[in-house]
Every structure is written in structure tokens, then in C-alpha cells.
């Protein structure tokens, strides 16, 4: 009876919530009050796929959903957040019959790495994808090993893991486990011999802290690592990018699945691999997955084209407090051939909480912008001086970068000067401060 009531209350609450435009966690919260173990009492979908990690969660989840739907599956989806248990409850019960059977084939969950253990108290994912563990939002996450320790209790022994073989830290989740599928990228032309970037999180083994060596590195500390002492090493992969040509935008998976990349970033390749691996593990045929991923343009708004004066521009959302996300976008700018201007905005470090912490700027490899086509760099926002201090230690000569605290003034100055391509590197917390200016017209990518 309580189960029936909880489902009914949740459905009604969601209906009313939609009418008044309220969030989706309240109905689930009410249902959990009425019946605390409701998630144990309902008949869950056959597949419960959770995706966690520092970078690429949203994009990976979006592609997994698109592939599964193309395969004819019904997907119930919930975004990350502190109220995840309540949110998942709402999503499941609104799709459930009054008898408690969820009318969906797949429950897909984007799981905040800090809340994973709490979210999976009442049910366990059947497939758990960990995209990677990098330095990300350290003001609340501590450091990557701290996050690793927080996720570990959330992984049930029956859950099948889908892990990034090329990441020395998140690959540790697979140590000693039977149900693990690995995705990764074979050696490719853009590789380096040693780790790159401002810090070397692959210098020492995450298991025993002995020095590690690399056969090749795709970016930062991601690649083919091997510990000189305990043997922790990149495992053989089950789903593999066997060939990658970023200049041509060509990716081949497992030797015979050819994909054209809408966004030519190695980052995008990892998200594609994670999504491909998860869907294949759910029984999707290679051709179906490839058909969706081919030239797939993400809908999550991480990239936004715009026009400003005579400039065409692209805003690359970079996540403040995340040096790998920044480096990826800086590397993308470096790969562009035509002359360009780069605008870096750090105004609010986070949109969710207050902090004046800017030490993460020192983890970003801004020297990537020291290339002939980057004609000038403009540093804007409240923390432009912190950016300037960082830039004063790069190889970029000072005449190539300037400081303008006011974002509107920086945009006005750009609008009245030149017609070269403009790349904007900033975060969700700051992007609309530029995109909402009257002088800026958004365009389709």
C-alpha cells in the first residue's frame, strides 16, 4: 500500500511540478518519506548505467542515450546533483506503473563523483562507466585520490565496470576485479614520449608511489604507463581507438568501425569510446552505435558559435578549476591554422559556490597559446590580474596579451578591431556574461 501511495504521490507531484515549473527532486523526496525503501520495491529496468568521472560525464551520457534510443530502447535519464537519490526516484516512479514496474529498458545516471556512494545505497548500477579522474574542482573535491576513495565504496561487486585504460588513477578501480571492460586509445600520430603539462600526475604510481614510465602519452598524463615497482600498467583494451587522425577528423574503433568526428578533439574521442563501450556492453550492434556517433554534434552547449562585430567566434566551455579541460581547448586553438584572438574570462570561479581560489590557473598550460596564429590574448573578468600573473610566466611576450577587467569593454574593444576568428575560453559560470551582451549574436555551429 505504501509503495502504491508513494508512486501515486510522486506522479502527482511531478505533474504539478511541471505545471509550476519546479525542480524534479521534491516528488521523489516525498515518495521516499512515505516509503523509504521504495527503490528496492519497484521493478527496475534491465540495465542501470551510471557514468561518473571528472571530465566528459555529460557528453558521454548524452551519446549513450542517443545510441540506445536509436537501438529502440526506452531510456530514463537523471542528471548529476546533490539530490540525486531524490531525482532518480522521481525519474523512476514517474515512469512506473502503479504496480511498481518501470516502463523503461535503461536507467541512465550521470553521477556526481562525490555523491556516488550515497546515490547507490538502494540499488546498484549494472554497468558503471568511469571516464577519468583528473584535478577537477579541487576547492570542493580535495584532490583526485580523495575522489577515488569517495567513489570506491559506491562500486558493488556485481557491477560491471567500464574503465579508461589510459588513465593511471581511475584504472585502479579495475584492480583485482572480474567484470571489467577497458576502453582506450592506441598509439597515434599526435602522441608524445613523455607526459606534458604543468604537473605530472603520472610521475608516480597511484598504487605504490614508485616512479612510472610511459611508452607514449596522448595528453597530459594519459597514455601507456607502467609502474617500475608494482606492475600497475595500462591494461589491454576491449574497445579500442585503433586509428585516429585529428587533422582529418577520422577515428577507427576496433579496426573496422569508421567514425567521422564533428569536433576534432582527443577529449571527444574518449567520450565517444566510453559511450560506445557502454552501449556495446548493453548489446547494441557496432553499426547502430557508429551510425549515431558519426559526425555527432553534442547538444549540451559546451561549444557556442557567435558573431561579434566583424569577428566570427567560438566559445569553448572549459570548466574553471579543471586544467585538463582548459588544456584540451587550448590545444584545439593551437591546432587551428588561421590567425585568431583568444579571450580568457575568469570572473566567478564557480556558479554554485563562492571562492576566490585561483591556484588552478597555475595547473593550466597557457604556453599552448604561444603559437604564430594566436595574434593576441585578452584576459578579462574579476580575476584578470591572477590570470596576468600566470601569463607573465609564460613564453608569450607581454605585447601579445592584455588585461581588461570589464567583460563588456573587452567585447566592445574586440568588436571595433579586426575581423579574425575569436576563441573564448571560459566556464559555465561566466559564459553568459559574454554571450548575453547585445553586441554578441549567437549562431549555430
Amino acid at each position: 500500500m505504501r509503495k502504491f501511495l508513494a508512486i501515486l504521490v510522486c506522479k502527482l507531484g511531478r505533474f504539478v511540478g511541471k505545471l509550476v515549473g519546479k525542480g524534479s527532486s521534491m516528488p521523489g523526496k516525498a515518495a521516499l518519506k512515505l516509503c523509504p525503501d521504495i527503490l528496492r520495491r519497484i521493478q527496475l529496468p534491465q540495465h542501470i548505467i551510471a557514468v561518473t568521472g571528472s571530465n566528459g560525464k555529460t557528453s558521454t551520457v548524452e551519446m549513450i542515450a542517443a545510441i540506445l534510443r536509436a537501438d529502440g530502447r526506452t531510456v530514463v535519464y537523471n542528471a548529476e546533483g546533490a539530490n540525486q537519490t531524490e531525482g532518480v526516484t522521481t525519474a523512476l516512479l514517474t515512469h512506473a506503473t502503479l504496480g511498481g514496474k518501470v516502463r523503461a529498458d535503461v536507467l541512465l545516471i550521470e553521477s556526481d563523483e562525490r555523491y556516488a556512494a550515497r546515490s547507490f545505497r538502494y540499488f546498484q548500477p549494472t554497468e558503471f562507466v568511469v571516464t577519468n579522474l583528473y584535478r577537477d574542482q579541487l576547492t570542493r573535491n580535495g584532490h583526485p585520490e580523495w575522489v577515488y576513495d569517495a567513489i570506491l565504496p559506491a562500486i558493488h561487486e556485481d557491477t560491471a565496470l567500464i574503465l579508461n585504460a589510459d588513465d593511471p588513477l581511475s584504472s585502479c578501480f579495475g584492480r583485482g576485479r572480474a567484470h571489467v571492460k577497458w576502453f582506450g586509445l592506441d598509439r597515434c600520430p599526435s602522441d608524445t614520449d613523455v607526459p606534458t603539462g604543468m604537473y605530472h600526475d603520472g610521475a608516480y604510481c597511484p598504487v605504490c608511489k614508485a616512479p612510472m614510465t610511459y611508452a607514449y602519452v596522448h595528453f597530459d598524463h594519459i597514455g601507456a604507463y607502467r609502474c617500475t615497482q608494482c606492475g600497475h600498467a595500462r591494461p589491454a583494451t576491449d574497445y579500442t581507438a585503433t586509428s585516429l587522425d585529428l587533422e582529418e577528423g577520422r577515428l577507427t574503433i576496433d579496426g573496422d568501425v569508421d567514425i567521422h568526428l564533428a569536433f576534432r578533439s582527443i577529449y571527444n574521442v574518449y567520450n565517444i569510446l566510453a559511450a560506445y563501450a557502454a552501449c556495446r556492453e548493453c548489446g547494441v550492434a557496432p553499426g547502430t552505435a557508429a551510425g549515431v556517433i558519426n559526425d555527432y554534434v553534442l547538444k549540451n552547449g559546451r561549444m557556442q558559435a557567435f558573431r561579434l562585430g566583424s569577428h566570427h567566434g567560438v566559445l569553448l566551455t572549459s570548466k574553471h578549476e579543471n586544467s585538463i579541460a582548459y588544456n584540451t581547448n587550448l590545444r584545439y586553438i593551437r591546432s587551428v591554422k588561421d590567425p585568431c584572438t583568444v579571450l580568457v574570462i575568469v570572473d566567478a570561479v564557480s556558479r554554485k559556490y563562492f571562492t576566490s581560489e585561483t591556484s588552478w590557473l597555475w595547473d593550466i598550460d597557457f604556453d599552448l597559446l604561444d603559437c604564430p596564429q594566436v595574434r593576441r590574448v585578452v584576459l578579462a573578468g574579476r580575476y584578470c590580474n591572477d590570470l596576468a600573473m600566470r601569463f607573465s610566466f609564460t613564453a608569450l611576450p607581454q605585447e601579445r596579451w592584455s588585461v581588461q577587467p570589464d567583460i563588456r569593454a573587452a567585447a566592445a574593444d574586440l568588436a571595433s578591431n579586426g575581423d579574425e576568428e575569436v576563441f573564448v575560453v571560459t566556464c559555465f559560470s561566466d559564459r553568459d556574461k559574454l554571450l548575453d551582451l547585445p553586441a554578441v549574436q549567437k549562431e549555430a555551429l
Binding site: T139, G142, E145, W146, Y204, S359, W360, W362, N385, M389
Partner: protein, 243 residues
């Protein structure tokens, strides 16, 4: 004058842009006309560290900290002698804990520190994170920074910050923070604390120069971006204090 900075474990203890303290200090000393050599120390590598002008270590994860401690024991006596003789030291973030009498990890394992100071460190399961706005006896300006640790530091008799109007100190909210003795500066404030605090950079540089008998200028060098960056962060944190 030729000056030498020892940078302990730059890859192992590298969280939160810790290396920037060395970069900014080197630039400062070079602006004063000195020649600066930075000598990195890697675990297991034999190095003669006697007679350096500054010994530096940055923040690391708790597991990296244990690895750093294991290697640092061999330099324990050298560091204690150097500190007693007035050598400058900066141990930032979790590196500070290594200077004390002991470190107890979250699983209850107790390891001796190098014993330069008598304080003890006890790590826990809870992360203590947040902006810090504190005061010091070294100069009138406030010290700004960010705390990111899981440790309570007990028994510090001579803290670096006498109190924090915002943020967590050694063992209490708002309490004294860090450690200061002779020219040894220690703070669990993470990252580029010398970039964020121009006066602390000045003090550290002065400690190095005065000990070597170098002239200290009437008007020490200043970088406008660093000064302005500090002013904005201090203002933001003061606004936060009022809330």
C-alpha cells in the same frame, strides 16, 4: 650574489600549483640582482643540500605525503640544523605536517615527522576546504589563501597566522594557522601562497637576503598584477567575512 633554492619533490608534492611559489620567488630574487639556482630533489636521489638559502616543499595527496616523508627522513637532521642556523624554509600545504613530531593518517597509522617542531598532525575522513582571510605578526596586511586539508594540527606554539577572520586554522574554525620559527614558514594554505600574498613573498625574500648579508632595497620590487590581484581577493574575502 648566488642563491640556491632546494625544491623538494616537485612532481610528487605538486598539488594546487605549488611550484609557482618557487617561480615567483626566483623572479623576485633575480629582480634584486641575484643569480638563483633551483635544485629539485627527487625521492631516492643523492643530493648535497648543505648551505642552501631556501628549502621548499609544496602540497601533495596524503599518499604522496607519506612517500615524501619516507624520503625526507634522511634530510631531517640537515633541515633541523639549517633551521636553527636561520636558513629560510617554506613548507606549504600538506608539506607542513612533515616538519612536526608525528602524522597520524585517517586509518590510525602513526608515523614520526622529522621533528623540526613539536606539533602533531592527525588526519581524518573529512575534507576541510574554504577560503582563508587571516592576520600575521609579520606585516599589517591580511594573508589570503585557500585551505584544502583533512588534518588537525595540534600543539603549534608559534603559528604563522595569529587568527583567521574567515576560514579554518590549525585545529579550529577561525583559529591560529601554520607554523613560524626563525626563518621557517609553514602554512597549510595551498598553492601559490607567495603569488597571492605579495608581502609574504617580500618577507621570504628578505629573510633569504638578510641572512646572506645582501643589501635590502628601500623600495623592494613590486608587480602591479600581483598587487592588484591581492587587493581584489582581499576585498572579496572581507565582504565574505561580513556575511
Amino acid at each position: 650574489m648566488e642563491l640556491k633554492i632546494i625544491h623538494f619533490y616537485p612532481d610528487l608534492m605538486s598539488l594546487y600549483g605549488s611550484y609557482a611559489n618557487v617561480w615567483v620567488l626566483q623572479r623576485y630574487l633575480e629582480a634584486l640582482g641575484h643569480t638563483v639556482t633551483v635544485e629539485p630533489v627527487v625521492p631516492g636521489e643523492e643530493k648535497d643540500l648543505v648551505g642552501a638559502d631556501l628549502y621548499y616543499m609544496g602540497a601533495g595527496t596524503e599518499r604522496s605525503q607519506t612517500a615524501a616523508l619516507t624520503d625526507l627522513y634522511r634530510y631531517g637532521e640537515l633541515l633541523k640544523d639549517a633551521a636553527a642556523a636561520g636558513a629560510a624554509m617554506l613548507f606549504a600545504g600538506t608539506a607542513l605536517e612533515l616538519l612536526g613530531a608525528s602524522i597520524t593518517s585517517a586509518d590510525g597509522t602513526e608515523r614520526p615527522g622529522i621533528g623540526l617542531a613539536s606539533f602533531t598532525s592527525v588526519q581524518g575522513q573529512k575534507r576541510i576546504v574554504g577560503d582563508v582571510y587571516g592576520t600575521t605578526d609579520l606585516f599589517p596586511d591580511a594573508v589570503v589563501g585557500f585551505m584544502n586539508k583533512c588534518t588537525l594540527l595540534h600543539g603549534v606554539e608559534t603559528p604563522l597566522l595569529t587568527g583567521c577572520a574567515l576560514g579554518f586554522g590549525n585545529e579550529t574554525e577561525g583559529g591560529p594557522e601554520g607554523f613560524h620559527w626563525n626563518n621557517v614558514l609553514g602554512s597549510e594554505l595551498t598553492g601559490p601562497i607567495l603569488v597571492k600574498n605579495p608581502r609574504l613573498l617580500e618577507k621570504t625574500a628578505a629573510a633569504i637576503c638578510l641572512r646572506r648579508g645582501a643589501d635590502w632595497p628601500q623600495e623592494p620590487p613590486r608587480w602591479p598584477f600581483e598587487e592588484e590581484g591581492y587587493a581584489i581577493t582581499a576585498e572579496q574575502l572581507r565582504l565574505r567575512c561580513r556575511k
